[in-house]
Amino acid sequence: MSTPPLEPAVVELAGITHRYGPTVALSDCRLSIAPGEVHGLVGENGSGKSTVVKLLSGIMRPTEGEVRVGGKAVDLRSPAAAQRHEIVTVFQETLVSDECSGLDNVFAGTDGIFRRARSGRAEREAAERVVASLGASPAILQSSPHHLSLAERQVLTLTRALVRPWKLLILDEATSALDLSTRDRLFAVLADHRREGRSVLFVSHRMDELEILIDRATVQRSGRTVGTVGKDEATPARLLSMMSGRSDAGEHHVRAGARSRQAADVVLRGVDLSLVAQAPAFDLDVRRGEILGIGGLDGQGGSHLVEVLAGVRPTASGRVEVDRDGSWTRVTGYRQAFRSGIAYVPGKRQEEGLFPSMTVGDNLSMATLPRHARAGLFRSSSVLTRVREEMTRLGVVPHDPSYPITGLSGGNAQKVLVGRWLAAEPDVLILNDPLRGVDLGTKRDFYALLRELTEAGTTVVMLSTEIEELLTCCDRVAVCQAERVFDVLEGEDLTYDAVLAAMFGRHVSDEQSSDEQSSDHDTHRKVTL
């Protein structure tokens, strides 16, 4: 699978293992970047890509293994150390400070403790050259980035990287903020640098970009390096099959197909929905009593979509409507959505969900307390009965409402959070990635619970970044890509490969996917281009 580099590697990861506590993020990772090549790094969420980028940028140090620069083992203890080894990184998030000018942003961190009064003429000219080569106006260097567009801000961070001396440029999804013409300019600039022997590590979810740009690609799956392939082999089909590795498509297919719902009975819908400014508009129907999965890679709009459906986040354009006794009511905010029968379980448990100083019972009853109250005074016995019911249904351990919430495991805390909204008996339950970082036992309990809820007539919308999870519990899956719903898969079309392909903006051809379901895997899968 691997083609050896022709010359000694610019940067090499040798047998790198990285752990976060008990979690192994990266296991025996091997990556070798040759001089003058653009090296693609691809994989699903959780495949270890970002860990690789963080290790090379000096943000984290590996638990085991060696990082070699020019054949010598080095310790990239800090971003400054990475830079001394001429490794520069541009991230997806446009990390620009609004507090100083574009030029100061470009040269941030280059000066000593005593800040220079004014950037020298040489600095200014260097920055202007880079900005111009990317097709942007040098004026963006003068003003505060406050007024700049996302693409212009990203040009600043690219300039920040390119004005420094570098041998390896890491682009971590850095192109997603760029418009097409700037992106093409960047690719042309990179081609020039490449001819001068500089290398690029290109992390992207966009197959088309990978196809244009890369010389070789390394594929990561579940923290392991699957292999490195040369340009000829690095077709989208080949890369997707290396990323997926195995598939349970057949098994899920049966259940998903059997549970298809009537298309007519829609309970919640998005009409001409646009998630962020300038993102393409789409329609989405949520059918009564189904479990609709929302899939997609991180940052591709899935989280925005569930927030918009729940009224937590305003739509950029278009509208969300909920069926209230036969008429469509527009969703304008999450309080109003709640009154219309929509409950939203937020994603980041610690930041958006739990009250760390309070008990399990208080955490669980918070949203529904007024239902147990008269004139603002609630009846403890009534609240406690309800809390205990939900704790029993969800199997919260320990079964003690007065227990501090911080004493629970992640899975149990998540159950309490879901219980808070189940206690409201919603028509539509929207869950933002409820099972991230939750143990397997809790996951199984959840799948059963969701089934039980839908059988009682509740509609469930659930975001998950794990394909297997979507296949296990959803009737249909809407896959988000580039801030829109790229495809809605159901029945026979709902397969591992189809979801994976859609995450990368591809359609698996129908005849091919049905063949695949009966055969065993790790063979090539055909992908329509």
Partner: protein, 337 residues
Amino acid sequence: MSTTITHGDPSLAAASPPPPKRRTARASSVLVYLSPVAMFVVLTLTTPGVLSTTGVMSLLVLASVLGLAAVGQTWAVMIGGIDLSIPATIGMANVLVTTLYAEGWGFPRIVLLVVVVSLAIGTANGLLSSLFGLHPLVVTLGMASLVTGSVLVATDGNTGGDVPGFITDAVSPVGSVWGIGVPAAVILWLATLAVVLLVERRTVFGRRLYALGSNERAARLALVRPVVVRVVVYSVGALCASAAGVLLAGFSGGASVSIGDPYLFSTITAVVVGGTSLLGGAGTYARTVAGVLVTTMFTTLLVGLEIGPNMQQVMLGVAILLLITVYGRDRHVAQRL
């Protein structure tokens, strides 16, 4: 068994996995409520005069004024804020009562005006610290300056005046209400205490107050309106501070716009001594009451030992720093990480 913030029955915990640092929290809360008792014993040993009805009542009257002033501080801290406008509000109420009474206003009319002004102060504090995302430290500091300045402008700096006799009676250690030998100030404080604890423990609002202090973002998503909670918290605080200001008028020495100044330090001391977390989301006014009793007796002790006001200040400072080292290193900090 209720779902109050205080931690649960240890017998239930026996069957459960080991909870984080629960025992220490329990132990420190027992200490908080025992400390006024211990302090009282020390006080009676060093200052024998305290052990009499009048002695106890004069302590309780002093405690009532501080206790009322500290209601707002406690709740502000519990929602993760602070209220620096309490001294100015005390001064405002104090000056309004004395000057307007001297000008012949009826007492109910004065009370109505003080209530309206207090609600305006509280509402402004609540709105400003919610809507513009300003830190309550800055908002209430600005408000303090605004209130004090306005009072001085309105009265032309002439803040002396007259006091209704029943206010003087209310703070007299030998005063009584309906034949019960307890001064009215103390009764007022006990009534306030009962209402405040009821609100904390049994109302939807109380639960939302804790939720806001614990995690604002999560509270919003759990349908709590932070603006409403803040406005109510700062308004209740201003009303209670005004009550303290009116009671202070009953002590001799005349009115002053700066009469509330010592209460900035002492209300915060009472909250901290009570062990309410400055990070918000936990604590209770009951703890502050323990803190109020301890600080009041500590000050009396220093006076009894004939330690001058300057040295008293030093001792109070040392005491508060010691206490913060003991339980200011919050268990919540550790739990939140």
